[in-house]
Symmetry: C2
Subunit: 303 residues, 2 copies
């Protein structure tokens, strides 16, 4: 089934204790697309500057990512510069240059408007709303956001949340938005606004999904080595939505499998800088790690 | 099978955003005993002062905890005063009065020395070694420690680690002791010293067990409400060891079930101050939550 992603496309400069990269391909829409395209066809909406390298387009096209919604504007591509110390869970931003992304107005090509699965990256909620207006009959829409919009555009954000099927935030964000420390109570507040699914990201600890059927707890795959955590959350969303789009339907057992796939894909992302590992990962590796994760989490019922 | 615990007995004064308690019954040996006694007979080794209330003894005895190893010395019982803010994962210590605990020298009654399961709370590693010397044929010994001993008595701690079957630390402690950020690599370093099981506590995120068979990931039970996290780690250890002692043997599938029981018991502990909730919990509640946890974590294999 068709899957649309709207979000940033960035050139990231990142330093971690395990290496560094300058102007590496990154951004929400890129990590999401590389992850989701392991499962389904992805249509990308975003903007880049004239400095965006042909090789980056080719990489995305090699994964059958539809780039007809990718605008190229005069100027430079969005750039982010960040570092991580040994506590890889905290990114320290050194510099952000929005460049062409500052004026981003998502406009969906006609062929995208029949999409059934839609991921709204953490852009301005007003833009998220304009995207929703352009999609005719979405089956499953997932919205991400961040503290900047929670603090600066709370009303518009609430309007957008009211119109989607699912919301994803990290623990700090959902607590800030709902002013509720309890994750289950916070999730219920979100569901009271309309969404049926709340997906709470906990970084290296994994994620929690809350639906009306209860909670599902997915720890993160335990890795021997993490080199760069950038893009983990967007890859997680990509694996999740890609898996659902391939299935073509949404039910609780599939949502759980989708979350595990999201975690598995993200576990590859963080093994290398930029999308380097995501670009190499094979279906055999994915399936192997899915099965390994099942062994890592299964325990026997009581006799 | 017989299960011995050695550790602190405290009177805790605790404030959290959800309430407070003054001189509540606490300490490693108490939380451990209350948790483990849900599954097996526990023999406690510790020391209290003359101010230790009769009702506390009676509570432990009502759970068939053997107190013949509990010494009463002239002076006051160990006291701890701490607060938590909304981030319940961090305890802020306001005051510690070791009192009689400062001179604690664990001496095991003759009847304890045949114990097969032993938990060494996070006391001075030299004392942990003297306990091990007093146990004749232990089947499964679990050692806990803390930053104070990692920094101050590293060599003795290593000696103690070399002599136990299993080690439990939290993430920060195992990273500090091994000087290794990767949990799997850190666990392997511990196993190279002798232990077959490494149990890493991750607070509200649950735990990870590493054995030669690989890793087992157990997220923490997702609670609606946490009132006081004090004693969660010791209750976890108690549920874990109590379950194993009841089984009377140690194998990987049982270790996994034991970890889940530890997490389930700890989830009750934190629902109230001191051991108030632990004192009330029923076997039906435990089994119900075990089954609920299984529903919260199970997902289907790939078709």
């Amino acid at each position: 089934m068709s899957l649309v992603v709207v979000g940033s496309i960035a050139l990231d400069t990142v330093e971690t204790p395990f290496g560094s990269i300058t102007d590496g391909l990154g951004g929400t829409a890129v990590y999401f697309s590389m992850a989701a395209s392991l499962f389904a066809k992805v249509s990308l909406v975003g903007v880049v500057g004239e400095d965006f390298a042909q090789q980056h387009r080719q990489l995305l096209e090699s994964r059958h990512v539809d780039l007809s919604g990718l605008a190229t504007w005069p100027g430079r591509t969005f750039r982010w510069h960040g570092t991580y110390d040994y506590d890889l869970s905290v990114a320290h931003t050194l510099d952000t240059q929005l460049n062409v992304f500052a004026e981003f107005k998502p406009s969906l090509p006609e062929t995208y408007r029949e999409a059934q699965f839609v991921f709204l990256g953490n852009i301005d909620p007003e833009l998220q709303l304009t995207v929703l207006e352009q999609i005719r009959r979405p089956k499953f829409t997932l919205l991400d956001t961040m503290n900047f919009w929670i603090e600066g555009k709370r009303d518009k954000l609430t309007e957008a949340i009211e119109r989607v099927h699912a919301v994803t935030m990290n623990e700090a964000e959902i607590r800030e938005y709902t002013q509720n420390y309890s994750l289950t109570a916070a999730a219920r507040q979100i569901m009271a606004l309309g969404p049926k699914v709340v997906l709470i990201k906990r970084g290296e600890y994994g994620s929690v999904m809350v639906t009306r059927d209860g909670a599902f707890l997915a720890p993160a795959f335990l890795l021997e080595e993490v080199r760069d955590p950038t893009g983990a959350g967007d890859s997680f969303a990509g694996g999740f939505m890609g898996f659902l789009a391939r299935a073509g339907r949404v039910e609780v057992s599939l949502l759980k499998q989708a979350i595990v796939h999201g975690g598995v894909v993200a576990s590859f992302t963080v093994e290398d800088f930029s999308v380097n590992r995501l670009a190499r990962v094979t279906h055999d590796e994915l399936n192997h790690r899915y099965a390994e994760f099942q062994r890592m989490t299964y325990f026997e019922p009581l006799a």
